[in-house]
């Protein structure tokens, strides 16, 4: 199969970016975290902002994100990433501080930090991975877990009576005047990845232009937590997660998308 006539530098179409470290990511096979890391790193490379990028890693599956981004990084306490980012971006206004957070980190324990950073319009980029579950701790219910979804702490399926409703925090944040760009994307197909990468690029460009908070939700899979193969998890995500968390821009250039 291997054709040495094609495999030449001048024919290169795609290669892994050097803004990712050489470390093998600890994520489960097929996890959207890896894909999202990759495209965030690609955007940093393409914009030439590696020396100004500061990654704030959360607590959760992506707690070790700082091992994978070849940029200066800080590991935050659970949910506090937007507080760190607020301070850093204010102290280094020309830097590119971004947080990378999961649904438990951002939409449960870090709700206050998230809402207030967005409401102040901090000039930061927030990358929010929503897979409706706590992956790292073993698949417990998250604020974004769907009704009926079985998790380790909702073993008979989430019910409204016991657990209330899935939190659409992205729509909520879009209501705040401080957010300039709010979008929800996914990374399960090549087309979706390209779109999400454009969204992430837009977010960092907004930051460069000091527009306020840019918030990119990536609806993602958790094949281990959902107990499915990666391709199956992606199908399930399209059929179920996308219903509650529809893909698309929610707020662009400070205006809600009609």
């Amino acid at each position: 199969m291997f054709n040495p006539d094609i495999v030449k530098p001048e024919n290169l179409v795609y290669k892994r970016t050097d803004v990712l470290t050489k470390a093998v990511m600890h994520y489960c096979p097929g996890c959207g975290h890896g894909t999202t890391h990759r495209i965030v790193a690609e955007v940093i490379e393409e914009m030439g902002i590696q020396d100004k990028a500061i990654c704030i890693a959360p607590v959760g599956c992506s707690v070790l994100a700082y091992n994978y981004f070849e940029v200066d990084s800080l590991g935050a306490a659970h949910g506090r990433a937007p507080a760190l980012a607020t301070a850093i971006q204010r102290l280094f206004p020309d830097h590119h501080t971004f947080t990378y957070q999961g649904d438990g980190d951002l939409a449960a324990i870090g709700t206050a930090e998230t809402i207030h950073a967005c409401n102040r319009g901090e000039n930061i980029v927030i990358i929010f991975i929503n897979n409706g579950i706590y992956g790292m701790t073993g698949g417990q219910m998250a604020p974004t877990t769907l009704i009926g979804m079985k998790t380790a702490t909702s073993p008979y399926g989430r019910t409204v009576e016991l657990n209330g409703y899935p939190l659409q925090i992205t729509e909520l944040l879009a209501e705040l005047p401080g957010t300039y760009y709010v979008t929800r994307q996914s990374v399960h197909t090549a087309a979706a990845v390209r779109k999400t990468k454009r969204a992430i690029r837009q977010a960092f460009e907004n930051q460069k232009n000091k527009k306020g908070t840019s918030f990119v939700e990536v609806v993602s899979n958790c094949n281990s937590g959902w107990k499915m193969t990666a391709p199956k998890a992606n199908e399930w995500m399209v059929e179920n997660m996308f219903v509650k968390y529809p893909i698309g821009d929610i707020k662009v250039d400070g205006e809600k998308v009609k």
């Binding site: 024919n11 795609y14 093998v24 990511m25 975290h33 391709p231």
Partner: protein, 72 residues
């Protein structure tokens, strides 16, 4: 003239998740019967129809796929 692509897969870093297999429009990729050092059935090209679209590389969470393309 035909567009001809080629993928180079770092099979030791591949976790065999199979999302690239689904993503390939020409069904070039499949998971190998053999496993790599970590015990994963890694992804490999099984037919010669790659067009270098890089869809596989786009969806690969671990960035193990390098893609080349030329016109023959």
């Amino acid at each position: 003239m035909a567009i001809k692509g080629e993928v180079v897969i770092d099979k030791e870093r591949c976790k065999g998740c199979g999302v690239c297999v689904v993503a390939c429009p020409n069904k070039v990729l499949a998971l190998a019967k053999n496993v790599n050092g970590k015990g994963y059935n890694y992804s490999e090209a099984v037919i010669d129809d790659c067009i270098g679209c890089a869809s596989c590389a786009m969806v690969c969470p671990d960035g193990v796929i390098t893609v080349y393309k030329t016109k023959l």
